[in-house]
């Protein structure tokens, strides 16, 4: 197994004949490689669960093909796809012990007894389940149960991909971090293709090699966590990734300069004039914008928030509001006039919500 190919996959639930199809998932075209971890990230209703269900075989896409390597599995039943899945709520077989739970998929496939035992022990060691192997599964904690669900997928040596459907939902917050690092360790140890659905950006960014950001059934951007942070392709990605999200201000553009109601921003690259009537905005991250006692662009302070490690300031600019980081030595209070500086190259231009790349010279 090397890859999963989404070949123009799209899904529309059947509606009135003749009406334009309402897509739960708009056409997507992508290849996922073995050994990498992908996260499907987006607010609820964005289509990420539909996409996961298409891969697991619960939903047959209305358009396009799904390939596992070169094999078309679009219409193949779940059990023939060799995938493993960890669900939102722990799914375990109540009446069996942990060991029996782990052995179950192998037993169903007629694997020889000693081989089952060897493999179950291996996986139990990997997931730290060895001490509870003989216990009834139903008495265990939620995180142990989720590890059992994962283990049931991993015992099969032929597994092509492991799917996670918001697996940390019911986990105690204190244990979330631990279980997440366990998942990462498993991923590194077993060289598997993993797909992780979540609406929590921290989970997505820490777990995945690549994150697929989705909204309203469409994929907005696929990229590494750094790419999403540094060069969001869509204003929603800028807003959704990062805490707090990117600042957006309506602007007009001429060459290397953007004007927000008279305030001039240096874009660090030159841009062609956007089409008439297009929505033009500049975006910058609070992480790259600094508020000083003086110097830079003069802005009116509205609110200061102390997060401990850093302080954030909300300020008025050009009829709107934005957030930036307070410089360590700046003692600013609401009502004060502050000076705003932005690191060069970190002011982005969005035209109709899409990021435009300028010509650096």
């Amino acid at each position: 197994m090397a890859s999963i190919t989404l070949d123009h996959i799209a899904h529309a639930y059947p509606g009135a004949p003749g009406a334009a199809p309402h897509y739960a998932l708009k056409p997507i075209n992508h290849v996922w490689q073995q050994g990498r971890a992908y996260a499907l990230l987006g607010p609820s209703g964005c289509g990420k669960t539909t996409l996961l269900n298409i891969i697991s075989g619960l939903v047959i896409p209305s358009e396009g093909r799904l390939l596992f390597d070169a094999t078309d599995v679009t219409r193949l039943s779940t059990e023939k796809r060799n995938i493993a899945q960890v669900f939102q709520f722990p799914v375990i077989y109540d009446t069996m012990t942990v060991a029996e739970n782990l052995a179950f998929p192998l037993k169903n496939r007629g694997v020889e007894k000693n081989a089952i035992k060897r493999r179950v022990d291996e996986i139990a060691d990997l997931l730290d389940l060895r001490p509870v192997l003989g216990r009834r599964a139903r008495g265990l904690t939620a995180d142990a149960k989720q590890k059992i669900s994962l283990g049931r997928g991993l015992v099969r040596s032929d597994v092509s991909a492991v799917l996670f459907d918001e697996p940390l939902t019911v986990i105690d917050p204190a244990l979330k971090w631990e279980l997440r690092s366990k998942l990462k360790a498993v991923h590194q140890a077993l060289d598997l293709l993993m797909i992780y659905v979540t609406h929590d950006q921290v989970e997505a960014l820490t777990f995945a090699d690549e994150v697929v950001v989705m909204k309203d059934g469409a994929v907005l951007q696929i990229g590494t966590p750094a790419e999403l942070f540094e060069r969001p392709a869509h204003s929603f990605v800028g807003y959704f990734i990062g805490s707090p999200g990117m600042n957006f201000l309506p602007a007009t553009v001429a060459g290397r300069e953007a004007r927000v109601q008279g305030t001039v921003f240096d874009l660090g690259a030159s841009y062609a004039a956007p089409a008439n009537g297009a929505k033009v905005e500049i975006g910058f991250r609070p992480d790259y914008a600094m508020l000083h006692a003086n110097g830079g662009i003069a802005v009116q302070m509205l609110k200061v928030e102390d997060l401990g490690r850093r302080r954030l300031g909300r300020f008025a600019i050009g009829g709107g509001e934005a957030i930036a980081t307070l410089a360590a030595d700046a003692d600013l209070q609401p009502g004060d006039t502050a000076g705003l500086t932005i690191e060069p190259g970190h002011v982005h231009l969005f035209v109709d919500d899409l990021r435009v790349e300028g010509a650096r010279a």
Partner: protein, 296 residues
């Protein structure tokens, strides 16, 4: 459960229920206890009789004792037989109820229908249906050469009563099981599919364990009702032929209202009630403890 506040004024809320149930249960029960330790020489002329009624009742060599013992055994066999038939059948029916569409509602309504037919009418339906002259069942069985006569032949009578009970009550087990099955999240079926489990394995490892609690309730309810069965057999067979289908309640009513043998009837009532309570209590305790031990 743990953090419920302690408040004795909550008793005020319970008082109305307490009064009505005391009135309907304790007062009549006192009358029964009263009769059970006295004998009468005729109109309202009672004297103390100690535990003589109970001694007679619990000694199978006496007339009344033998009668009680055989009714008890008969009733226990009946309860066990109908549980063995209704439980698997009810679960099977629940598994086959359609998954979606208008058919779900229609099927549920049809399955529930026998539960809302007055018990006398249930008896009447089967009394007619089983007759060999005008009933479809009786006529059809005799036509294909099976000797069947539910008023003359004990085997036929038993078969009729058992089939009638299965017909009457399987729907309840099916509805309870259906409610239990509906509560199983789809993820369990999806996981089983991924694990390559067979249909039987899904039933054995997912559906049956998840149904356990509902089934405990179903067994309790069915046991209670079948152990108290009166109306249906009284209409269909009247307890006969002979004593063949004379269950505890039928016998009790015969003694109490038919023969007005108050002392025996009262003693029998108390013993009967205590047996029902004990069996239910023991069954319930065993099931809940089994459940807890498995969790460890």
């Amino acid at each position: 459960m743990m953090d419920k506040p302690w408040n004795n004024r909550a008793w005020l809320f319970v008082v109305p229920v307490l009064i009505i149930v005391l009135f309907s249960s304790l007062v009549p029960m006192m009358t029964v206890v009263n009769y059970s330790v006295q004998d009468t020489m005729g109109q309202n002329n009672f004297f103390w009789n100690g535990v003589a009624w109970f001694q007679g009742l619990l000694d199978p060599t006496t007339d009344i004792g033998g009668r009680f013992a055989s009714a008890l055994v008969r009733n226990l066999i009946f309860s066990i037989v109908i549980l063995c038939l209704e439980l698997p059948l009810g679960i099977a029916v629940a598994l086959c109820i359609p998954k979606q569409g208008w058919k779900v509602g229609a099927t549920l309504v049809l399955i529930a229908l026998p539960l809302l037919i007055p018990w006398t009418v249930v008896g009447t339906i089967w009394q007619i249906f089983a007759r060999q002259d005008i009933g479809l069942l009786g006529a059809a069985l005799n036509a294909i050469g099976i000797h069947y006569n539910d008023t003359q032949d004990p085997t036929s009578a038993w078969a009729t009563i058992v089939i009638m009970d299965v017909w009457h009550w399987t729907g309840m087990i099916a509805l309870l099981s259906y409610a239990g099955l509906k509560a199983i999240p789809d993820a369990f079926y999806q996981a089983a599919r991924i694990d390559g489990a067979s249909r039987w394995s899904v039933f054995r490892n997912i559906e049956l364990p998840k149904l356990q609690k509902v089934l405990v309730i179903a067994v309790l309810l069915r046991f209670m009702e079948s152990f108290m069965i009166y109306t249906e057999p009284s209409v269909v067979t009247g307890g006969g032929p002979g004593e063949a289908t004379s269950f505890l309640s039928l016998d009790l009513v015969k003694i109490a209202l038919g023969q007005v043998d108050l002392g025996n009837a009262a003693a029998m009532s108390i013993v009967y009630y205590l047996i029902t309570l004990t069996i239910c209590y023991v069954f319930f305790t065993i099931m809940t403890q089994l459940d807890q031990r498995k969790g460890v």
